[in-house]
């Protein structure tokens, strides 16, 4: 586990490995070292940020493309400022829908995966139907969802659920089926109940897979919320970013459309980071993927 750390500092950054080989460096104040590390950590992101948006602005300026076809970052900022209150309200509505749907997906998908993993027999017979359910195009079922649940947050949550359920399910299921045979034997011989084997062994062992599923689904949740809002048709602030995007598209307010899109991105990146941090918490002590 240790080599990893060195690799990161020594090989990946291709910096001379100062801290270890020359004792003098060890005397350096830990604070300076800390700041230097943090700076190094943030530096690449910041650089890329500047380069990316700088290039975007510059290229569009040079190409002289109309903002309503492809807006520059500056146009987007102006549009966002001009519609600040709307944007905030819409973001809030979308976040509520996305998070609620994501939460439901997480709970149901993990529970379902557990049920399916209890026996190959159940898995073989039920899973294909879940795949079918997953693959029925949402466009085809939204009208029915709206009829049953009414236009509104309920329908949006259902759309979010439909789109974010499957990745968690699939990953959790594969994870639950990947438990090391020796450990399964251990639990089997100590006469563990199914319940115990699931909760004390297979779920902890599947965590890296579950986390991968959550990472995928939390971004899909926002996509789902926006699609839902776009299609299910709730007016006003409750319409969320999806409706704002639709309206902006019809009105050719492309900069505002981009502002909404980037806001959606930002929201899901935030949720994504939270999931990532949680996974670090849970896995860093024992799983390769999160070890420092």
């Amino acid at each position: 586990m240790e080599r990893k750390q060195e690799e990161r500092v020594g090989e990946s950054l291709t910096l001379p490995n100062l801290s270890q080989s020359k004792p003098a460096v060890n005397q350096r104040s830990k604070m300076t070292e800390f700041v230097r590390r943090k700076a190094l950590q943030i530096l690449p992101s910041v650089t890329l940020f500047v380069v990316f948006f700088g290039a975007w602005e510059l290229i569009l300026r040079l190409a002289d493309i109309a903002p309503f076809i492809f807006p520059k970052p500056s146009d987007i900022v102006v549009a966002a400022q001009g519609n600040w209150v709307n944007l905030l309200g819409a973001a809030q509505a979308t976040t509520t829908g996305a998070l609620a749907g994501f939460a439901i997906s997480t709970v149901l998908a993990i529970s379902m995966a557990i049920i399916l993993s209890l026996s190959k027999w159940i898995e073989k017979s039920v899973y294909p139907y879940i795949v079918i359910l997953q693959t029925i195009p949402i466009v085809a079922v939204i009208p029915i969802i709206v009829i049953w649940f009414g236009a509104g947050i309920q329908s949006i949550i259902i759309v979010v659920f439909l789109i974010s359920f499957f990745p968690i399910l699939t990953n959790t299921l594969i994870g639950l089926n990947s438990t090391d045979q020796n450990m399964k034997n251990l639990f089997y011989l100590y006469n563990a109940s199914r319940f115990q084997t699931i909760f004390k062994l297979r779920i902890p062992a599947a965590l890296p897979y579950i986390v991968a599923g959550l990472k995928i689904s939390c971004t899909l949740a926002f996509i789902g919320a926006i699609v839902g809002e776009y299609m299910a048709g709730i007016g006003g602030a409750e319409g969320g970013l999806g409706q704002a995007i639709t309206v902006a598209a019809t009105r050719l307010e492309t900069p505002y459309l981009f502002a909404c899109g980037l806001t959606a991105s930002l929201l899901s990146v935030t949720v994504y980071q939270i999931v990532t941090k949680l996974s670090e918490r849970m896995l860093s002590s024992w799983h390769e993927s999160e070890m420092k």
């Binding site: 020796n182 011989l189 100590y190 004390k200 024992w286």
Partner: protein, 276 residues
């Protein structure tokens, strides 16, 4: 010493023939009757193994690498199905036996849960039996002390040396007092000193508990002779039980047995049986 090599195999086979193969001897904790094991890829791991293991015995299994020792253990615990013959464990089918909660074991590999610390790892069998946390942890600390790891209760398995991991696995098996304890090369990764003290510890536990039967795999003939009441000698390709050698030395045994002439005679007889 040669007299003491018992030709149990033939006598058992005769007894089986006389009583009919579906009759169980309830006094035997484990019974193998003409057991075969052919793995799906065609490897014949065990062929026509016969063995009666009575209560409160200490059986050591010796034999060359790959001769089928672990396979026999796996069949007894029900981890793998035998492909021929009849097997009874604790008076029932091997797959049922574990349900009595009377079996403990040490696998050939340590098999610890990487996300649990040592205390949680060793007290796992009690946790699975829903023993209250306090008692579980007390017992856990007791067995960790037994294997010399009481300072590591909060460590994770990844922070241990190879031998230490194996000791945790041993401690886990010792936390309950099972009727049947199976140990697959538990002391292989340990230094002589730790090994001897654990040997004595194991013998002490076994003698105190009047109903415990131990099955023990080792490559160390000295260890086999020192520990066991019977040594099972196996030959490879296909794995057969070639000899069952009784060690007629009273328990408790101690340092004086190790230096006794009878000890080296037993060692010799096991070694020569292994070489044939």
């Amino acid at each position: 010493m040669e007299r003491q090599i018992m030709t149990r195999i033939s006598s058992q086979a005769e007894a089986a023939a006389a009583t009919g193969i579906d009759r169980h001897h309830p006094q035997n904790l484990v019974e193998l009757k003409n057991i075969d094991k052919v793995y799906p890829n065609g490897t014949v791991a065990v062929e026509r193994a016969n063995l009666d293991i009575a209560e409160n015995e200490f059986f050591c299994f010796v034999g060359p690498s790959g001769c089928g020792k672990s396979t026999i253990f796996n069949m007894i615990t029900g981890l793998t199905e035998h492909t021929g013959g009849e097997l009874s464990v604790l008076g029932t089918e091997s797959k049922e036996a574990r349900k009595e909660n009377e079996i403990a074991f040490v696998f050939q590999e340590p098999t610890l849960l990487p996300w649990n610390n040592l205390l949680e790892n060793v007290s796992l069998p009690l946790k699975l039996r829903k023993v209250p946390k306090k008692q579980r942890h007390e017992e856990g600390e007791r067995v960790l002390e037994l294997v010399g790891l009481k300072d590591y209760t909060k460590s994770l398995p990844s922070q241990l040396s190879g031998g230490m991991k194996m000791r945790v696995s041993i401690a886990r098996a010792l936390i309950s007092r099972p009727k049947l304890l199976l140990m697959d090369e538990p002391f292989g990764a340990l230094d002589e000193f730790t090994r001897q003290s654990l040997q004595d510890e194991l013998l002490r536990i076994w003698s105190q508990d009047q109903r415990m039967t131990v099955l023990f795999i080792t490559h160390n003939v000295f260890e086999a002779v020192y520990l066991s009441s019977q040594v099972v000698v196996m030959t490879p390709s296909p794995g057969r039980i070639s000899d069952v050698i009784q060690i007629d030395e009273p328990f408790p045994r101690g340092e004086n047995f190790r230096v006794a002439p009878s000890f080296s005679q037993y060692v010799q007889s096991v070694t020569s049986s292994l070489e044939h």
